[in-house]
């Protein structure tokens, strides 16, 4: 049976990549383990090895092709006596399906608010990098430290290029000692520098949470306003893909409960850039929660060095009249997927992206609830003592008479994140859950 060589994923979250080079041509004999191609993403390059022995029957994706979806057949390997044509027909079916998925994604991205200035398309990863680079150019007190931020160019390539531009004095690789380097950053902040600490993910920031809370958040208060600790703690937060319980969780509610911190969790590249710039300029400690799965997602971003989003302001991504749906970070993706179905049902949802989790912009949420009289909060995090719990409580207190239905939240399942693909999917908010919650609050049957 002919063997399809599929576009491999370099990481669990990679969705597409470029086919940089073929090392073989049609008709070449290959053995298992031979390097046959090179693929690349904006993060890394990898060699593709043949998984079996045979003859390259057909190359399906040409060298230099960009954005090839993971699992797209890229070549066919034939065993002795096999014919290339039959194999190609089967492969093309899979390829067509993949193309449809990416079209759907493009439609979703187009629903960004109308641009005010010239926009350029960029990934969240690039937006974050540009924000740091721009602020480092403006203020030589700003520096970045963390694991693999310099020579490796960032574990998730968010700091790509910073070492080249700013040198090793300001882009600093640390040992794998989060508690220690978070403390060093806090000390440097107390001494008047402006550190940006990258945690490879916020799961590892658990080792450092003492300094984030006890050293950074409380210093201004404990010193009667005398001493500040302006550190930005940033990195990937939230649910990743297939990495299990210790590497996949949302810390939003943990940090958002701490007075003295500002907590940001953007969804789009534009907000990621504008809020990170605001965070670096801010004289307070800021916890900046990114999302690994969003790093590679592209959005239009204003083409200026002066793009700053104010901390503490939510964004109404879509105006609507029947229900207010509040979410943040990757939760917006879930909401916008569900909104496709809601539209088909004739339900007009107002979608609010919180962007800042502390201080929460309750004004925007309340104004929307006063208009729609219904509220659903969507979050990846655990349901107990969550951001959604806080918003439902505040709305119930402050707008009880305006509500036509009890506010609902759609949260992650109340379990440690499982590894198995089916269980992991069950632990996350689904389109169905969101649609059901909206149907409930709007009494739609």
């Amino acid at each position: 049976m002919p063997i399809e060589v599929l576009m491999p994923a370099l990481s669990p979250t990679m969705e597409k990549g470029n086919l940089a080079k073929w090392h073989v041509t049609e008709g070449d004999e290959v053995n298992s383990g031979d390097v046959i191609a090179e693929i690349e993403t904006d993060k890394a390059t990898m060699e593709v090895e043949s998984v079996d022995e045979g003859t390259i029957g057909k190359i399906l994706i040409e060298e230099g092709s960009m954005d090839v979806a993971v699992n797209t057949p890229i070549a066919i390997i034939l065993s002795e006596g096999e014919d290339a044509e039959t194999a190609i027909t089967e492969a093309s079916i899979v390829a067509t399906e993949t193309v449809e998925t990416s079209v759907a994604e493009t439609v979703a991205a187009n629903e960004e608010p109308a641009p005010l200035t010239n926009q350029v398309e960029m990934t969240v990863r690039e937006a974050l990098r540009d924000a740091m680079a721009e602020e480092m150019r403006l203020d030589d007190k700003v520096f970045v430290m963390g694991e693999e931020v310099a020579e490796y160019q960032g574990a998730y390539k968010v700091t790509q290029g910073l070492l080249d531009e700013f040198g090793k004095k300001r882009v600093i690789d640390t040992p794998i000692t989060e508690y220690g380097f978070a403390g060093i950053a806090c000390g440097a902040g107390m001494a008047g520098l402006k550190p940006i600490v990258e945690f490879m993910t916020f799961n590892f920031a658990m080792q450092a949470i003492d300094h984030i809370i006890n050293s950074a958040a409380k210093t201004l208060y404990m010193s009667g306003g005398q001493m500040r600790c302006p550190v930005v703690f940033r990195g990937a937060n939230g649910v990743a893909s297939r990495v299990g319980a210790q590497h996949s969780q949302d810390y939003s509610a943990w940090y958002a409960s701490v007075p003295g911190l500002k907590v940001l969790a953007p969804y789009s590249a534009s907000d990621a850039k504008g809020l990170l710039k605001a965070a670096i300029k801010d004289p307070n400690p800021v916890v900046f929660l990114e999302n690994e799965i969003l790093y590679g997602k592209s959005f239009p971003v204003p083409d200026t060095d002066d793009h700053i989003i104010p901390i503490g302001k939510a964004n109404i991504r879509q105006q609507g009249s029947d229900v207010t749906i509040v979410s943040y970070s990757r939760g917006i993706e879930y909401v916008e997927n569900a909104d496709v179905e809601l539209k088909e049902m004739g339900i007009s949802a107002e979608i609010i992206d919180l962007r800042t989790l502390r201080p929460l912009d309750m004004e925007t949420v309340l104004a929307s609830v006063r208009k729609t009289n219904r509220l659903v909060v969507v979050e990846e995090g655990w349901p107990i003592c969550s951001i959604g719990s806080e918003i439902c409580s505040s709305v119930t207190n402050l707008a009880f008479d305006e509500l036509d239905a009890p506010p609902l939240k759609v949260s992650g399942a109340d379990v440690p994140m499982p590894y198995a693909a089916n269980l992991e999917a069950l632990a996350l908010p689904t389109t169905n859950q969101i649609v059901d919650a909206v149907k409930k609050v709007t009494y739609t049957t």
């Binding site: 220690g180 010193s223 003295g260």
Partner: protein, 327 residues
């Protein structure tokens, strides 16, 4: 290679500094007993020679950071006794306007960075101060003080590693007073020569008689020169003793009265210095009595100030949580 000059400190100055700490702490103990000071209050009595000697050999701009047994560090840094005592009583004229307390006081002006309540946290923080010195190329050294108890914390070694890896100008001053709260160092530490705790990281260290201010100064000079000359961190293990319990609520039943008395009678840093001063003949008994009276007045005034200063206005509850301006 110091570009800024060291202060010239006489034995009389050292005596005054140590006596101020002793009398201040005695008064704080009294005020605690009278209910004017609440919560935790960790007295420095017995350890005065350590901060006094180190302070005498620092140069302008060198930073100090320590744990919660911090009153002595603040007084020698030049912070006002009135402001420190008023913070102990939780009043508005305290250094943190009453919002920090005994363990959380700061003076950026005097380069004193706290006053930290989490055991060992000041070690990476102090290493961060040194990081800032190197970043700014300002020729200053940061002094991070911690106790024998903190010397077993994991974050201390994370900081040691980075301090040597990056050759940061920091001197770690371990104040080994033999007890981490109620647990003696022998019962808490697999190795008790704490000066060698940096050997895995190639950080040199020496043990110093922390009850002798001259010995502290001599070792302090060498350590500061080492760090200031770009050689990276240095560890000073000060062998010292606290006469009082861990905090005011500790009856100190884990050690014998004889042990404490022996230290007070034979190793007291203030008595030792006093004898040296009298031997030198620069000041006589009357001169010392006069100093004693001056210090008592400062401390009594501070106590009165701290009792009369008002409590912070209720509106202070919600201030100093965030700075609103953009830097």
């Amino acid at each position: 290679m110091s570009s800024k000059s060291q202060k010239s400190v006489s034995k009389k100055d050292l005596y005054k500094d140590m006596l101020l700490i002793r009398r201040f702490e005695e008064k704080a103990g009294q005020l605690y007993g009278m209910g004017f000071i609440g919560g935790f209050c960790h007295l420095y009595i017995g350890q005065e020679a350590v901060v006094t000697g180190m302070n005498a050999v620092m140069i302008e701009g060198d930073q100090v950071i320590t744990g919660y047994r911090d009153h002595g560090h603040m007084l020698v840094a030049g912070m006002e006794p009135n402001g420190v005592m008023a913070e102990l009583t939780g009043r508005v004229d305290g250094y943190s306007r009453g919002k920090g307390g005994s363990m959380h006081m700061f003076s950026v002006e005097k380069h004193f960075y706290g006053g930290h309540g989490i055991v060992g946290a000041q070690v990476p923080l102090g290493t961060g101060l040194a990081f800032a010195n190197k970043y700014r190329e300002n020729n200053n050294v940061s002094l991070a003080y911690f106790g024998d108890g903190a010397a077993n914390q994991g974050q201390v070694y994370e900081a040691f590693n980075m301090a040597k890896l990056w050759n940061l100008p920091v001197v770690y001053v371990i104040e080994n007073n033999r007890y981490g709260m109620g647990t003696s160092i022998e019962r808490a530490s697999s190795t008790t020569d704490l000066s060698q705790r940096g050997s895995s990281f190639d950080i040199p260290g020496v043990q110093v008689d922390g009850m002798d201010v001259d010995a502290v100064m001599e070792a302090g000079r060498k350590a500061l020169d080492h760090a200031r000359s770009g050689n990276g961190p240095f560890i000073l293990e000060m062998i010292t003793y606290r006469y009082r319990g861990h905090s005011m609520s500790d009856p100190a039943k884990y050690r014998s009265r004889d042990e404490v008395n022996e230290m007070r009678q034979d190793h007291d840093p203030i008595i030792t210095l006093k004898e040296k001063i009298l031997d030198d003949g620069d000041i006589d008994e009357d001169g010392l009595k006069q100093i004693d009276a001056e210090i008592r007045k400062i401390v009594n005034d501070a106590a009165e100030f701290a009792q009369n200063s008002p409590e912070p206005d209720p509106s202070e509850l919600y201030t100093d949580i965030h700075l609103e301006e953009t830097a």
